[in-house]
């Protein structure tokens, strides 16, 4: 499972990095004379309503999806780990306050939150990354806090404190490294989710704007031309599915691998 996940994710990275080499056309190149053509030997996946090659747009779209996925989750992880570690280590009212904030964010439907901020900040790739990051930190915070609480009680932390190490040092170099394995799994799933959310936002027109290619915004054209251009719907969706599936597989594999119980079992 994990091997398959790593393979799939690596494939995505390769496509993203080597996009200019793989794509036969420039993703912006319009050719109105050849608009809405079905898949052919000239355009493997057909053309969109402005004559742009769908395959090329999809290949370059990989770059966008992966970068949004990773950066958004990086933001979320930063906030989540920070707040979770603080809450777990300090406890008391700090912990309470942070947990209430987490509750608040969890009660507001994420979609509404994301949409509202995007609608008012304006749709762009950077805003999408920021917004997904700002709304996705809650799970990671809770996880980190739980792990920190567990690690806090271990003997080596006691000895570190007795040795007189400062709080920050204890947290950074002793507690965190041992708490972060479940967070790693959560991050991987988070990337899958972020890719999905970016695609959904772009589909609604609130994410990546044309002419920049995103699998989501190809689907937007697909919706408008559903009656005549099935390839605009089928292929981008397959791409999104593969990307999300890849990261989900990686996450599942990681989870089984990092869990000392299941690691000893012979799981595929």
């Amino acid at each position: 499972m994990m091997v398959a996940g790593i393979a799939a994710v690596s494939l995505l990275f390769i496509v993203a990095i080597f996009a200019p080499v793989i794509a036969p056309y420039d993703y912006r190149e319009q050719n109105i004379g050849q608009r809405l053509m079905p898949p052919s030997s000239q355009h493997i996946l057909g053309t969109d309503e402005l004559g742009r090659d769908v395959f090329s747009r999809m290949v370059f779209g990989t770059r966008i999806s992966i970068s949004v996925g990773i950066i958004a989750v990086a933001i979320a992880a930063f906030i989540g780990i920070l707040l979770g570690a603080i809450a777990g280590y300090w406890g008391g009212w700090v912990d309470n306050v942070i947990m209430r904030v987490v509750d608040v964010f969890l009660s507001i439907p994420t979609i509404y939150l994301i949409l509202t901020v995007i609608a008012y900040l304006g749709p762009s790739i950077i805003n999408v990354m920021i917004v997904i990051g700002l709304t996705g930190w809650t799970g990671i915070a809770r996880l980190t806090r739980a792990e920190v609480l567990k690690t806090k009680k271990m003997a080596y932390i006691e000895s570190a404190k007795l040795a007189g190490l400062g709080k920050a040092r204890i947290i950074l170099r002793h507690i965190l490294p041992n708490s972060l394995t479940p967070v790693l799994v959560s991050i991987t799933f988070g990337i899958a989710g972020a890719i999905f959310t970016e695609a959904a936002l772009s589909f609604l027109g609130l994410g990546v704007q044309p002419p920049f290619p995103s699998w989501g915004n190809i689907l937007t054209s697909g919706k408008d031309y559903m009656h005549s251009a099935w390839w605009l719907i089928v292929f981008p969706g397959i791409a999104i599915f593969i990307a999300v599936f890849a990261y989900n597989m990686l996450g599942e594999g990681l989870r089984d691998y990092l869990n000392p119980v299941t690691r000893r079992q012979d799981t595929t």
Partner: protein
Amino acid sequence: MKRYILKRLLLIIPVLFGITIITFAIIHITPGSFTAVNMQMDPHASPDSIARLKALYGLDKPAHIQYWEWLKRFARLDFGRSFIDNRPVIDKIGERLPATILLNVCALMVIYFISLITGIYAALKRNRAFDKITTGITFAGYSIPDFWLALLLMMLFGVYLRVLPVSGLVSVGFENMNFWQKTADILWHLILPVSVAAFTGLASLTRYMKSSMVDTLSQLYIKAAYAKGLPEKRIIFVSALKNSLLPVITILGLTLPALIGGSFIFEVIFSWPGMGRLMYSALLTFDYPVVMGGITIAAFLTVLGNFIADIAYAYVDPRIRYK
């Protein structure tokens, strides 16, 4: 039990306040003030009338006073009037909420029905064909983008096969139908959205049910029941099932936020007249009162739902109450 309920209630209050603060903060911090949008439409607006408009909406007062005013009106369920058609926000939300709830409740019922049955059988026939196949299907379903699936099915059933409607809650001429026809019409419109919503939600619940069932089945008291010679059906469907349902109920509580906000994208794709669609158009037209009211109401309903789920869980599992 009462103490538990009271404790829960106390914990909720800061959360409710927090929701109102965050909603208010987001709307007022982001650029694009109330008046800017309205005034941009009319280049003849003088600074005087802009100032009057601001005073009317109380926008010239400092932020915390505005918040307090809003909070007071909110307590009376007065969310103001929509900028678009000047109707009270409450009314607009009220007429859309039932459609959303209908869609989500139906989806939830389908998900639970299928997941519970599949989960139980997968647990019973662990690692055999049924289990592996269903795990594979649900895992794939989990990764499929739901809006893509919606588009695909829409294309297949609505455009190419033409058997299902692709938009709306009711057909044209709904008013003229009798009760049974109306029910049938709504059900017919429900098929596509509910199918898509259910398919993508099946994965996690099925796996949860299966693992919960597997855990329960390995417990000593189940082995004791077998040793006692109780019929297998009774063991599985009475003892094991009841105990494995407990974590599933917790999940029900966690999926409640999805009840209100989760169908958003389906509502937009299928033109379903629900709250998600209302929020979507309100956001695009910068209709602040509707947006604020919508988010706050959705969040409050979520908190309420979680609260009820917590109480139900404590009622069902006595161990929780005594923590």
